[in-house]
Symmetry: C2
Subunit: 268 residues, 2 copies
């Protein structure tokens, strides 16, 4: 943690936040339900005396976990506590553990933005591929009892690497109000890597890194790849699904609790 | 799983059961609260039509987890389902997952008893030894923020190996009714191995194997060893505490959720 006191022009804070998505209705603030950003904002208000506005690197859906979520916000240095980030992080942890943990806190330049400064996001999806379940993996993995063909899933994953229009694997954002006449948002994303690995004890990891993700993209890709692993689809179908741009062509969406935002990359 | 249909004299069943202790008030049946044995008994009644009486290898306390708990019970083969263990295990899993999972089911000899046939029990205690918490370890480890001296804890652990009177590390069973005049139960137990290891990512494992354990014995030993790891006690004190036979001499009891019954050993 950077313990330097900020100058008057350097009051932006960056937190690295881990959370168990199970008790939350997603990351983003939403009226009437408990969310990660809402819980953090409430705690920060109590500690700092300010109604801070959080920006998160990834808007994880309900049930999705975070290990390396990054958030930024501005903090007027009017109170003594607001110049002591180590104390703020400790207070947050004592209020929010065990569901939310602040892993790091630092002062950053005023133009650093958790969302727009990010170069890439890395998500991990965990599949428990055993005939019977595991009570200790239930909250953080998708239990698939059919034996999966890891090699076929890896072959199919290679098709996603590079820049593609991911319309077939994404939930289209709802347009309402003035934005109705706005141009359709682009679903073009650049996947840097997509790799399956055997983590032992029947756990399979799918690691995917991209410049950005559209909504439900990882879960939709995983749902389709698991159908390949079950030999219900061929690995060679992926390019055709991407080109179709049609959600109906892709597989079922994998459940949220297997997914975790692991890390966000920024310019160094 | 042993799929053989039992003969008339071989109706005893052995299950290997994993469970997340968090939602349960311990293993043993207790009136008015949800327990692992109670939940299993209810499910077995629904599936088999019998009010079976379960024997467990270890009576884990409230909050303690199981990975290799062993239970035995008798099943009259009056209905067809009661001759098909694979189906019984599948039905149990579909009713009880994700909190309870039947890992194995087998027919055993009528004199096999989960408790009295056991030669040893192996428990693991997990400590998360990092400055900040981890939302994914919170349910299965004790978070200790003070850096622990693993070597001192190992040195202290060696004192427990062999046969000792563990009165100083055990909760005395409450005596009531006719057993008031019975002789005090023996607290002599034989510890076969006791070892600390670094499991990575700040997780420490304490593995202890003994012929049997008295109540709260592992948690009491771990609580005392962690005080050694914090340099609040010396490793050399353990033998003196054992000899004192006094609970007041031992350390605080470690919380239940770090503890898991891993495996039970039987004659082969």
């Amino acid at each position: 943690m950077n313990e330097e006191t900020p100058g008057p022009a350097a009051r932006r804070v960056r937190l690295v936040v881990a959370y168990n998505g199970e008790p939350f209705h997603g990351f983003a603030i939403s009226a009437g339900v408990s969310t990660v950003a809402g819980t953090l904002t409430d705690a920060l208000r109590q500690i700092t005396g300010h109604a801070v506005v959080l920006t998160g690197a990834g808007r994880t859906d309900a049930g999705v976990h975070g290990w390396g979520q990054v958030v930024t916000f501005d903090l007027p240095a009017d109170r003594e506590i607001n110049r002591d980030l180590v104390r703020i992080a400790k207070s947050l942890n004592s209020m929010l553990e065990p569901h939310i943990v602040i892993r790091d806190a630092a002062w950053v330049a005023p133009d650093f933005d958790a969302r727009f400064s990010a170069l890439w996001r890395h998500y991990r999806y965990r599949v428990l591929n055993t005939p019977t379940g595991n009570p200790f993996e239930a909250a953080t993995s998708w239990h698939v009892t059919t034996p999966l063909d890891l090699r076929a899933m890896q072959l199919a994953s290679d098709a996603f690497i590079g820049e593609h229009d991911f319309s077939a694997f994404c939930r289209r954002p709802k347009l309402s109000g003035p934005s109705k006449d706005a141009p359709e948002p682009s679903m073009a994303r650049r996947v840097i890597s997509a790799r399956w690995s055997d983590a032992g004890s029947g756990i399979l990891h799918f690691e995917i890194r991209a410049n950005a993700f559209c909504q439900q993209m990882v879960r939709s890709i995983v749902g389709t790849l698991v159908e390949v692993g079950m030999h219900r689809r061929r690995a060679g179908e992926m390019t055709g699904i991407l080109r179709s741009g049609s959600r109906a062509m892709a597989g079922h969406i994998a459940p949220p609790h297997g997914l975790c935002l692991m890390e966000v990359g920024y310019p160094t």
